[in-house]
């Protein structure tokens, strides 16, 4: 019995003691994330696991539920970054390729978790070391090495050497091998991704004089036929030849004001001023003893185009920050498994220092076509929709049932309606508590993370009596959260959203908007429901609104007196169209279905996260990193709801 990800070495002596220690101390990283695990009813806090926020500090990967196809590469990357010995515990996951086989598999239940962990501890204690551990590799990890000049990013070679422009040593850079999405944000069409041979030409293609490609000074992989802005950093694209010819002109004319006596350097450039073959460059650089120095001053140095060595000119055209300084921007991926952000959401931030200069957000678990195949049985359709939305299955189940009933003109009856409304409200409580727990994790408010997580698990499957038993604790929690020290300071004025921006659900209601699919619903009106609204439009208002809604939902459930998750309606070979709209925890979702002969042939879904995900760019722009992440979290996006 050994681990697949065992460490190399025979199991003996001290290693045995170390393995025993590892079996007792299990820092775990959860895929897709702790919030998804909780939504699936799994309590990870009570099993003497230590949940950690980075794979580096983990040695156990817990895969909860089936691994969506979009997350497989990311899972492989995560696993590859865990130091050995590393173990995988798969809970109801099925096939997890490209990850290696799970060391222990167990069903997705609390009992499964406990027995799985017990098994795993035994496996680790017995087999954390192995004489011949295999190597882990996956397509997402493959790389291609290319060499580029730190000053002239447009120079890209597939072999080491010196830069033809300034003679600096080219530095190696790794890129994801072609045809794979493993590299953060580089999802440009394949034809735009020049191969190394193309790159070798890039700087010199202008010899032809005409259709010079435009490229970004910072992101040489961005190549465009037309002028414009770089999609990554927003800088103006420069004509590939422009930098070079400009540099030569400068070198010819204004050069040597400091080292005039050594004019041969400038002269050498002048010789091939207008065109420039690669050989000329390298030949020239060969006799330049000073190649590569300077660079920190504006002083021109022989043999190097002063243009490129000047800080002022180097940064010309680069975007400026609010204080007018120009710095380098880096692109940093946050997610899909970032602690505190919704699991499955890949946020790529372009950072100017610690300030967000640009953002790109993408869901890796976006929903596929609702109707799988030409037609679907009604029961399958309902189950599929519910399974597609692991963060709010009951709401979408209710939505599917309501739309089908509408299409089939079936009336579920008064009691069923009340029960359903209460079921959706129960899920709202659980979902908002889950959000609070995530927010607690993100902001380091660990008491909140633990308490809200525990209450969510207690509520989400509970009946009316069970919820009534927890109501006091939940209300206390919501009061305490809002009164916590530093809370106002943390969230006030973060992620402000104006009245005109489209937004859905709590995000809209927290800025004084009134959109709520529950307004006017007679069943809910009976139960004493009133739309809750908060003003402010910032993250704090959203927190308060969610707390208000939790309290309101508790009242509604108490008034309803029963909770009934809808059963698949019994439709008998009817045809028709129907639409339904309900307020899911994240906002209004609308579903239109078309039935033919009692089978679903067409379905169309609008979800709140489709609307709210567009807000990410607005709320993160020019924010400090921590504020930007809090802002994204405050939107409570469900990547599963986003159209894939």
């Amino acid at each position: 019995m050994t681990l697949v990800g065992a460490r190399e070495g025979a199991m003996s002596g001290i290693r045995r003691a170390v393995a025993a220690a590892m079996a007792r101390d299990l820092p775990a990283f959860v895929l897709p994330g702790p919030s998804v695990a909780r939504a699936m009813g799994l309590d990870l806090s009570g099993s003497h696991l230590r949940l950690v926020g980075t794979p580096r500090h983990a040695n156990l990967l817990i895969v909860v539920g089936p691994l969506p196809p979009g997350l497989r590469d990311a899972a492989a990357v995560t696993y590859a970054q865990i130091p050995r010995p590393r173990a995988i515990l798969a809970l109801g996951a099925g096939d997890i390729a490209p990850l290696p086989d799970a060391d222990v598999s167990a069903p997705l239940t609390q009992a499964g978790l406990h027995s799985g962990l017990a098994d795993l501890r035994r496996v680790i204690a017995a087999g954390a070391f192995r004489a011949d551990s295999g190597e882990f590799n996956a397509p997402a990890l493959e790389v291609r090495v290319e060499y580029t000049c730190p000053m002239h990013p447009e120079i890209v070679r597939d072999a080491p050497g010196d830069c033809p422009k300034c003679g600096m040593t080219l530095v190696p850079r790794e890129t994801a091998s072609d045809g794979h999405g493993g590299h953060g944000g580089h999802d440009m069409p394949p034809e735009d991704r020049s191969n190394p041979a193309d790159h070798a030409h890039a700087g010199h293609a202008e010899d032809a004089g005409g259709a010079g490609a435009y490229t970004c000074p910072m992101h040489p992989e961005v190549v465009s036929d037309a002028p414009g802005k770089c999609p990554k950093c927003g800088m103006f694209l420069v004509k590939a030849e422009e930098g070079e010819s400009h540099g030569h002109g400068h070198g010819h004319g204004g050069h040597g004001h400091e080292h005039g006596s050594e004019a041969h350097g400038a002269h050498g450039h002048g010789d091939h001023g207008g065109h420039g073959k690669q050989q000329d460059h390298s030949g020239h650089d060969g006799h330049d003893g000073h190649a590569g120095h300077g660079g920190h001053s504006e002083a021109a140095i022989d043999g190097i185009e002063p243009h490129f060595m000047s800080m002022v000119e180097m940064t010309e055209g680069q975007p400026r920050s609010s204080d007018g300084l120009q710095m380098d921007w880096i692109e940093v991926p946050f997610g899909p498994f970032f602690p505190g952000l919704p699991a499955g959401l890949r946020l790529t931030l372009t950072l100017d220092g610690d300030t967000v200069a640009g953002s790109e957000v993408r869901s890796l678990v976006g929903r596929a076509e609702l109707v799988d195949g030409p037609q679907m049985r009604v029961a399958d359709f309902v189950e599929r929709l519910a399974a597609m939305m692991p963060l709010s299955p009951v709401a979408y189940r209710t939505l599917a049932c309501a739309a089908i009933e509408e299409a089939a003109s079936v009336d579920p009856g008064h009691d069923a309606r009340r029960g359903r409304a209460a079921a959706v409200e129960r899920e709202r409580i659980a979902s908002h508590l889950n959000w609070l727990a995530e927010f607690g994790l993100q902001s380091g408010f660990l008491w909140l993370a633990a308490r809200a997580g525990a209450l969510q698990l207690a509520v989400q499957g509970a009946d009316v009596a069970g919820i009534a038993a927890q109501a006091g604790a939940i209300r206390r929690l919501t009061r305490r959260v809002q009164a916590a020290p530093l809370m106002r300071m943390r969230l006030r004025r973060i992620a402000r959203i104006g009245k005109d921006t489209p937004a859905s659900g709590p995000v809209d209601r927290a800025r004084g908007g009134g959109s709520d699919a529950r307004t006017g619903d007679p069943t809910l009106k009976d139960l004493g429901f009133e739309t809750r609204v908060r003003n402010g439009g910032d993250a704090l208002a959203r927190l308060r609104l969610r707390c208000d809604e939790i309290a309101q939902s508790l009242d509604v459930i108490a008034a309803a007196g029963r909770i009934a998750v809808p059963q698949v309606p019994d439709v008998d070979r009817v045809s028709g169209e129907g639409a339904a709209r309900i307020e899911t925890p994240r906002g209004a979702a609308q579903l239109r279905v078309k039935l033919t002969d009692g089978r679903v042939v067409e379905a169309d879904l609008d979800t709140p996260s489709d609307v709210n995900i567009a807000l990410v760019e607005t709320v993160t722009a020019q924010q400090e990193l921590g504020d930007a992440l809090a802002a994204v979290a405050s939107l409570d996006l469900s990547p599963w709801e986003v159209r894939g």
Binding site: P150, M151, G292, G295, H296, S297, M327
Partner: protein, 171 residues
């Protein structure tokens, strides 16, 4: 005394060596921190020479100030990570002259003035700090206060040069 001399030489050598590293490395952060440790070594030299207050102050202040310098270097220097292996030195002729003259001046300062007899007994560390305090409040009060004014001038100048005023920022 000999042990003291050995340690003095050791820390002196370390200070010089770190000073050399400042220019031999490619990375701006390494360069800044090398300067930091060079200054720390000088602080240690003060300690070896039993100037405790001065030594500890040097060790403390240089750690913080050089770290602040590191961030400014990272902000304003190209390729701060030194990935391109750029040379730190430039304007070599001028620098050599300046360095040579500086060295000469330092040596003259060491050899020429009459430093008086060697102090064989050093006041205790507490006495040193207290004496310094008395000096500040007595004979050197004017120097002390003008130091305050100098710092004020530096603050005002730095703010004026480096900070975009509130009003302009809002535009």
């Amino acid at each position: 005394m000999t042990v003291q001399m050995i340690f003095l030489a050791f820390f002196g050598g370390a200070a010089v060596w770190f000073g050399v590293v400042v220019f031999r490395t490619h990375s701006m952060v390494r360069s800044a921190l090398a300067l930091l440790f060079s200054q720390t070594a000088i602080g240690a030299m003060f300690l070896v020479m039993q100037a405790e207050f001065l030594g500890v102050l040097q060790i403390m202040m240089m750690a913080t100030e050089m770290s602040v310098m590191a961030i400014f270097m990272v902000m304003f220097m190209m390729d701060p990570g030194g990935m391109g292996k750029m040379d730190m030195t430039h304007q070599k002729r001028l620098s050599l002259w300046a360095g040579g003259i500086g060295l000469l001046a330092a040596l003259l300062l060491v050899w020429l003035p009459d430093w008086g007899p060697v102090a064989l007994s050093v006041p205790g560390a507490h006495e040193q700090a207290a004496d310094l305090g008395r000096e500040l409040l007595g004979r050197s009060m004017l120097i002390f206060q003008s130091a305050g004014l100098t710092i004020l001038t530096a603050m005002v100048a730095a703010t004026m040069v480096a900070i975009v005023p509130n009003a302009e920022q809002r535009k």
